[in-house]
């Protein structure tokens, strides 16, 4: 025997004669319908508390007041305020793209490729990284570079290595591969200078 579908069971709950006839002859469907009828009875037993008569006496007046006082709702895209906000946001984005200095948006220049002149560093101010880079230049007003330089001044390479601050496997090779010709030539020059300096 084919059983009732969900929709036919909904019909049976509403007293549809065709579904009711099936339910009368099918215990499985009858059990389903009875279970749902119990749930429906639980639902309909729950009533809404009736507000006080005073609530109803003033309801239409409150609706009228709301109609008169509340501004009509506008769709957000039709709201002039939203339109102006959108225009202002667009202008800000354009301004940011056009006027923010290029240096702020460009990636940090690779040291080897930089052509600017390094600020003079006296012998007393020299740090290990200065020694490694020799007279390599950096932007004079670059705070980030200054921070790296000051941190590097106290750098203990062995301690750093023990702390796990080491290049990831293949990082050096990857960096070398990514250098352009000019950078690669500069790297060779730096290595040669360092070898010569240490007498290796």
């Amino acid at each position: 025997m084919t059983h009732l579908t969900d929709q036919q069971i909904a019909d049976a709950l509403g007293g549809d004669p065709a579904s009711a006839a099936h339910v009368a002859a099918c215990p499985a469907c009858a059990a389903k319908v009875d279970a749902l009828r119990d749930a429906l009875r639980d639902v309909t037993d729950v009533d809404v508390p009736e507000p006080s008569p005073l609530f109803w006496a003033g309801f239409a007046a409150r609706v009228n007041e709301a109609i008169d006082t509340a501004p009509p709702r506008r769709s957000w895209w039709g709201n002039p305020g939203f339109a102006w906000a959108t225009i202002a946001a667009a202008l800000l984005v354009v301004a940011a793209v056009v006027f923010v200095p290029r240096t702020a948006r460009e990636p940090e220049p690779r040291v080897a490729a930089t052509k600017t002149v390094a600020p003079a560093v006296t012998e007393g101010e020299r740090t290990p990284i200065d020694d490694v880079l020799g007279a390599q230049p950096w932007p004079e007003d670059d705070d980030a570079w200054e921070l790296v330089r000051s941190v590097a001044a106290d750098l203990d390479y062995d301690a750093a290595r023990e702390a796990g601050i080491v290049p990831r496997p293949g990082a050096v090779e990857r960096a070398a591969v990514e250098l352009d010709d000019e950078e690669r030539a500069e790297l060779v020059r730096l290595i040669e200078a360092e070898l010569k300096r240490t007498g290796a």
Partner: protein
Amino acid sequence: MLDTDRARADDEELVRACVDGDRRAFDVLVERHQRQVYRLCYRFVGSHEDASELAQDAFVRAYRALPKFERTSKFSTWLHRITVNVCLNRLALKRPAHQTLDDSSAIRAPGETADAAVLREERAARVRAAIAQLPKKQRATLILRAYHDLPHEEIAGILGSSVGAVKANFFHALANLKKRLTNE
């Protein structure tokens, strides 16, 4: 239109009068449907404060939308649709308030003992909580079918669903409810 005419007019005539600028005609429509709208809202949100606010909002929206009412359905169906949308929008923004026994007060029915009233109200609170956990469409279908006794076809018009979907939602709403109430 005179007050006596308004009182006798059917909804369609009142809608026409209202669109023509007779504000008092809308008052009659409000008075005629306010209980149904309030009760529908209450079924969704479970508190008097929220229900009265939502019912008011539904009538304000209906008033503003009246010129666009195409009269292809009954005014009451259209008003129900607005009300359901207002309620569903509220539910999407705000979790329903946790309902305590005091919210609906265990008022004793004639001949009912105090204990029986408390038990009945506890049962009602469990059912309300179970209904509140139903998916939105199932919940709306159940409320319109069980409490407002609307036919499947009218519910389909209100919810913008097919009649088959309404029947399926009604079935699943009851099945889910049964499961939740049994598992407690």
